[in-house]
Amino acid sequence: MNTRRHFLRSGTALVALPFLESFGFRRFAAAAVPAAPPKRMMFLGMGFGVTKETWFPDVKQTGADFALPQGLAPLARHKKDFTLIQGLSNRYSEDAHGGSTYWLTGANPHEAGASAHNSISADQVAAAAFGKETRFASLQLNGSDKDLSGPGHGAGLSLAWDNRGKPIAGINSPLAVFNRLFSAEQVPLDQLRLRMTQKRSLLDGVLLEAQDLQRGLAKNDADKLEEYFQSIREIEQRLAKEEQWQSLPKPKAPLTQPPDARSGVEEIKLMYDLMVAAFQTDSSRVLTYRLPISNLLSSLGVKVAAHDMSHYSPGERMEASQRRDVAHSELLAGLLDKLKAVQEPDGSSLFDHCSVVFGSNLSSVHNLTNCPTFIAGGGAGIKLGQHLVATKDTPLCNVWLTLLQGSGLQVERHGDSTGPLKALIA
């Protein structure tokens, strides 16, 4: 049955399989408490940007001494623990309705003449390393908006893009996230193992078929079929991972099961709680959340449609935009409270070892320059409590690079980065 490896090689690319994690491999399951709490990251993408007039601090007040504008006021109690950076942008971005597609990737959509090229997102770079230690390498959360990939966020299935620049699917409801994290299947171990063996055998079957098919294909088609091989490989890797974890029951949920349909403010609160819980139980160390827009507005009683709001000018649309900002800041302040409240084994808090990023590729109205960027947490060794104004057109990816490096990853560049942002480093 171990012919799988052979089949996988028949594609245009050699597909590496996780060899050692096959049958019988035992994870250092209840492994000793690590000496230092692990690094973690979460990225919160808001799609349409912020209200320029009332969200960004005055550019003349930089450093630690700056006044919090109205849109950030609810975050006052955390002022020493986050940093705002102005002047950042993704050089190649041109989609005035896409706040998320290239936010974490910094890709050139027209690279090599393509019509919509993308590349790996910062969270996935982190997941490739941090994910080895947890049940879920990363988790992608999505807001419940129906028109989610429409205006505001742009193309994509979540904030995350894999190393081939393909969109990664997200989970759309708090309940589904809860189930993924905590609901345990009551299956005896040997049966679980049998099920995995049988699944592997199924995969072998389809690989055989895929290989046979590939024999007759032209280059383009063969390339397309690579995706199929890649998908099978993903399942293989997941199985290997499941196998590592199968003897270890899922953690007990530190929160109650969320109710089913919730939208807007309630939904974001629940998702934030779940994100804290995912960190707390060390289920995953890398999280992204593509925040709802339309449902957030409706839950605030705002009658203006999301896209109309984004085209604000003084009047009810601007008020809507400002209410959205304040709501986000309140929710974010609540999230930081929780991260600070959860203790690591060494007495420090979750907050001390994670990075929380909030922002968008769109700054305000339909501008792609000065991407709103909010960073909190002690995970990446950055200077907190600051308002930084970078020189105009500093790549946003420089910030991602700084965070990745600060979190201990050996990364030399990301997207269109030109180097770490020195002013950000503590």
Binding site: G216, L217, A218, A222, S231, T369
Partner: protein, 900 residues
């Protein structure tokens, strides 16, 4: 198939390496010549040179290169990524106002608008050219709806595939191969879905002979209502007692001040002191009177009490003894009827509703909504006009598919459970007429559910029936193998699975049996595996490019007859080829142009053609916009979900009508008929349309209806549910009708500086767009068209007046002025002249339609490689009065459609 042929890409072990390299090199070359073509240039008109010289070259030249950017050497033809990149940078800098710098001389407004207009267009063309597909059609995965249709064709039942991940990226068709990704998650979902589908198919087979009929009587559904009336009356009595006690306490001299303070705090709200009873010393708690709190007491004593007269009226209706009136309201009356499908095995059923409508009510209320779910779902599955009378009720038949789980179906008056509490607006309309509540409109005698006999065994099941047996059946290995083979051939749309694959299927079956699975369970695993195989999931088209046997090299890029059959049926049915197509492919007859044409016509005549018409139009015309907004129920109480759905269908059914009758697509721009059902006819004020079938109806003289520009759906899409959006409408007309897409909205355009703190007409507000050249470059084209359509309100009804109101600022009303002129073009005084002018440009429309069809059918964005085909479609159709089928025939007969 020639078994000696192999692809030019395959690294066959039987060929020696040198030969392969040589072949590959040569063929790579011949590919290029066969497909032709160098990237054509996108040209930015050099008339802008003077402007560049004057405003840009001083800083961006060979010596200075300010900002490390040189402009003087940048050619006016854009033919590679590098120059596209650089021109994009110029465009961005001018759009954002960064260039020219503030302190420098600025571009004259008009020249700047023209400059941006031309440059943005040139960049769009350049990007399109550079990402051109070179005419290659890449293998792709079945999209969500094709997957559902394919399962249905194979196993015989419709599954709900909406739980599978959606596969459209923004702004392209769901047939676009490059957007149809596959991930591990998805493969697992397909695996689970396939298992469930197979399990259900088995169960349907087992229960094929079951006879079942259930009836749910209307009058049995209201037994609790008399009791509820008693409870409401009693609740009100208790409330009044409590209220009196609170009043007594509040009137005590020592409590006066406290009571006044509450009234002041709650702004003299009538019920203030009852809400805050606890602040009044001596007032009793509502809990002493059986209420949970003050809110509950007020709800029972006031809100529910208000409906008691209506409830009493309802209970007095004699028809409720033999059936039930369905009306608007809460559970004081019967606001919807529902029944559950207990003990119903999976299968196809029919629901029969015996219903009548009152002749006393407005025609708009003589419709019902039917659907799946219980409680207050906003959406429904179908709408029906009720023509039966109390003397002579009618029976409405609705086909449904049950999956074996218990579900509920509901039936209600249309719009009685809509978003934004539309029902209370409607209730209010009724109550103002008679002081009690709306007249009873819809009467139900009974609902009946009957299982239908199985029509024909689906091909996939036919393959497996010989070995289906039961849980304990032992099957002979040979029989099992042939069953697996037959099933795979059906699943793979006629292609044979390999022997090793069949070996593996047997091995998997055996393995599951050995580990304790019963026969049926093991079978299910094997079949689910077939359903995640790439030959099932992908539209794969192996190509035979090299004939080694002949020792000569020739590209054969034509796809095989069986692949052509697949392309054709997935194009026009969204599902796999049926037997007839497959046989014609196998015999080779399908390669004959006449046969192919006949088959194309046959497919278009089949009801399954709606699997092409609907998704094509839905995506092409961006009809998802219809679902983006809720419509203000107060202003548009009859643009409810029913009307919205009927309006959506009008678009599809009009196109279906053109295809069926092979009429001119020009009728989509102007027609003296509209294709409507009874519901939409009532909405449009057209008389004499009875029933639910869409049919062409002759329009009165001077009707604004007829063609896309007469459709409520088009106008509703061009609004946000509250107000019209002339910009959306104008841009839609440019994109979809005049084939003149404005470039995407540019980023980084500075905000308009003027304040919105004024009450302005729509036109005044939008004209502000044109103050800035960055906006004017597009809006001078878009806005005049939008203004010309302002006679249609948010919900697509004709109007002559509009108004705008802002709290604190006041209200302004104005007569609509639709007059205007196309940018650099003809003027129009009203909508009718505008429509005529648009109709004159039917050739542009035909080109846009052709381009969309090519993209949908070939699965890639249309670029210069597709232009020849588009040209042919336009010229062929023009020679035949633009009749709808010519577009399809020309496309299907083309080399492009039949090649890789």
């Amino acid at each position: 198939m020639n078994s000696h042929s192999v692809s030019y890409w395959q690294r066959s072990y039987s060929l020696n390496l040198k030969a392969v390299v040589a072949l590959f090199g040569l063929l790579g070359l011949s590919q290029v010549t066969a497909r032709s073509t160098e990237v054509p240039e996108a040209v930015f008109p050099d008339k802008h040179l003077a402007l560049l010289k004057e405003h840009c070259f001083t800083c961006h030249n060979a010596e200075k290169q300010k900002g490390k950017f040189r402009l003087d050497d940048l050619g006016f033809s854009i033919k590679d990524n590098r120059s596209a990149e650089r021109w994009q940078k110029v465009l961005n800098a001018v759009n954002s106002g960064d260039m020219p710098p503030e302190e420098e001389k600025q571009l004259p407004t008009n020249a700047k608008a023209n400059f941006l207009d031309d440059l943005s267009k040139a960049v769009v063309v350049a990007r399109r050219n550079l990402s051109d597909s070179r005419g290659i059609i890449t293998m792709r995965r079945l999209n969500q709806r094709e997957y559902g249709n394919t399962l249905e064709a194979l196993l015989g039942m419709r599954m709900d595939v909406r739980e599978l991940p959606a596969d459209t990226m923004a702004n392209n068709f769901d047939t676009t191969g490059s957007s149809l990704f596959l991930s591990g998650d998805q493969v697992e979902q397909y695996l689970d879905f396939g298992r469930a589908a197979v399990a259900e198919a088995f169960m349907r087979h087992d229960k094929a002979g079951t006879v079942l009929k259930k009836r749910f009587e209307g009058e049995d559904s209201i037994s609790s209502i008399p009791n509820s009336l008693k409870e409401r009356i009693e609740g009100h009595r208790k409330f009044m007692v409590w209220k009196r006690e609170v009043d007594k306490a509040a009137e005590k001299p020592e409590n006066r001040a406290a009571a006044d303070a509450i009234r002041k705090e709650l702004k003299n709200e009538a019920m203030a002191i009852y809400h805050r009873w606890d602040k009044i010393p001596g007032a009793p708690s509502p809990t002493e009177y059986g209420f949970t709190d003050a809110f509950h007491a007020l709800h029972v004593g006031q809100g529910q009490w208000a409906l008691v007269p209506y409830q009493a009226w309802f209970l007095s209706m004699p028809e409720n003894r033999t059936g039930v009136w369905l009306t608007i309201g809460d559970n004081a009356v019967k606001s919807y009827f529902s029944f559950a499908t207990h003990d119903c095995p999976p299968g196809d059923y029919v629901v029969r509703l015996r219903v009548a409508a009152s002749d006393k009510v407005d025609a708009r209320r003589r419709f019902i909504e039917f659907g799946l779910g219980a409680g207050n779902p906003f959406n429904h599955d179908s709408r029906h006009m009720v023509t039966g009378t109390l003397e002579n009720p009618q029976i409405i038949e609705i086909p449904v598919t049950l999956h074996g789980n218990v579900v509920s179906y509901f039936l209600r008056e249309r719009g009685s459970h809509d978003a934004d509490a539309i029902e209370w607006v409607r209730f209010g309309l009724g109550a103002t007429e008679n002081g009690v509540g709306p007249d009873f409109a819809i009467w139900l005698d009974y609902a009946e559910l009957e299982k239908l006999p199985v029509k024909a065994v689906a091909p996939g099941m036919r393959a497996i029936v010989p070995v289906l047996g039961d849980a304990n059946t032992k099957v002979d290995a040979g029989a099992l193998r042939s069953a697996f083979e037959a099933f795979s051939i059906e699943a793979f749309r006629g292609k044979k699975p390999s022997e090793p694959f069949l070996d593996r299927l047997i091995a998997i079956y055996d393995d599951h049996r050995q580990h304790g699975a019963d026969h049926r369970a093991a079978l299910k695993e094997v079949l689910a595996l077939v359903l995640v195989s790439p030959r099932f999931l992908y539209l794969n088209e192996p190509t035979t490019a090299v004939r080694i046997a002949q020792q000569s090299i020739q590209t054969v890029d034509r796809i095989s007859a069986s692949d052509l059959a697949s392309r054709l049926s997935f194009f026009l049915w969204g599902s796999p080829p049926d037997n007839e197509l497959r046989e014609l492919a196998a015999s080779g007859a399908l390669s004959n142009a006449e046969v192919l044409k006949k088959q194309t016509d046959r497919l278009l005549n089949d009801p399954r053609a709606s699997n092409f018409i609907r998704p094509f139009l839905q995506q092409w015309l961006h009809m998802d916009r219809l679902d983006f907004f809720r419509f203000n129920a107060k202003r548009y109480p009859f643009f409810d979900v029913s009307t919205k759905e009927a309006a959506r269908l009008e678009v599809y059914e009009t196109f279906a009508h053109l295809l069926r009758e092979n009429r001119s697509v020009g009728e989509l721009l102007k027609a003296d008929y509209a294709v409507v059902d009874g519901l939409l006819a009532v909405y449009y004020g057209l008389d004499g349309v009875v029933g639910d079938a869409f049919r062409p109806v002759k329009l009165p003289q001077n009707s604004p209806r007829g063609g896309l520009l007469g459709m409520a759906a088009v106008y509703a899409m061009g609004s946000n549910g509250e107000q019209t959006s002339p910009v959306e409408r104008g841009a839609w007309v440019l994109r979809k009708i005049l084939n003149e897409s404005p470039p995407p909205a540019p980023a980084n355009v500075p905000q308009l500086t003027r304040l919105e703190d004024k009450i302005l007409t729509t036109r005044e507000r939008l004209l502000m767009h044109q103050e800035q050249p960055q906006c004017a470059s597009c809006h001078r084209r878009i806005d005049p068209i939008g203004f010309g359509l302002e006679n249609f309100d948010t919900a697509g009804q004709w109007r002559s007046e509009d108004s705008y109101e802002r709290a604190g600022l006041g209200k302004k009303s104005w007569l609509i002025d639709p007059s205007g002129a196309f940018y650099n073009g003809a003027a129009f005084g009203d909508f009718f002249v505008l429509r005529d002018l648009i109709h004159k440009r039917v050739d542009d429309f035909a080109r846009g339609l052709s381009t969309a069809l090519v993209e949908y059918a070939l699965g890639h964005a249309a670029g210069f490689s597709d232009e020849a085909l588009v040209d042919r479609m336009v010229s062929e159709s023009k020679s035949q009065d633009l009749s709808a089928r010519i577009f399809i025939h020309t496309l299907v007969q083309s080399r492009e459609f039949q090649s890789k």
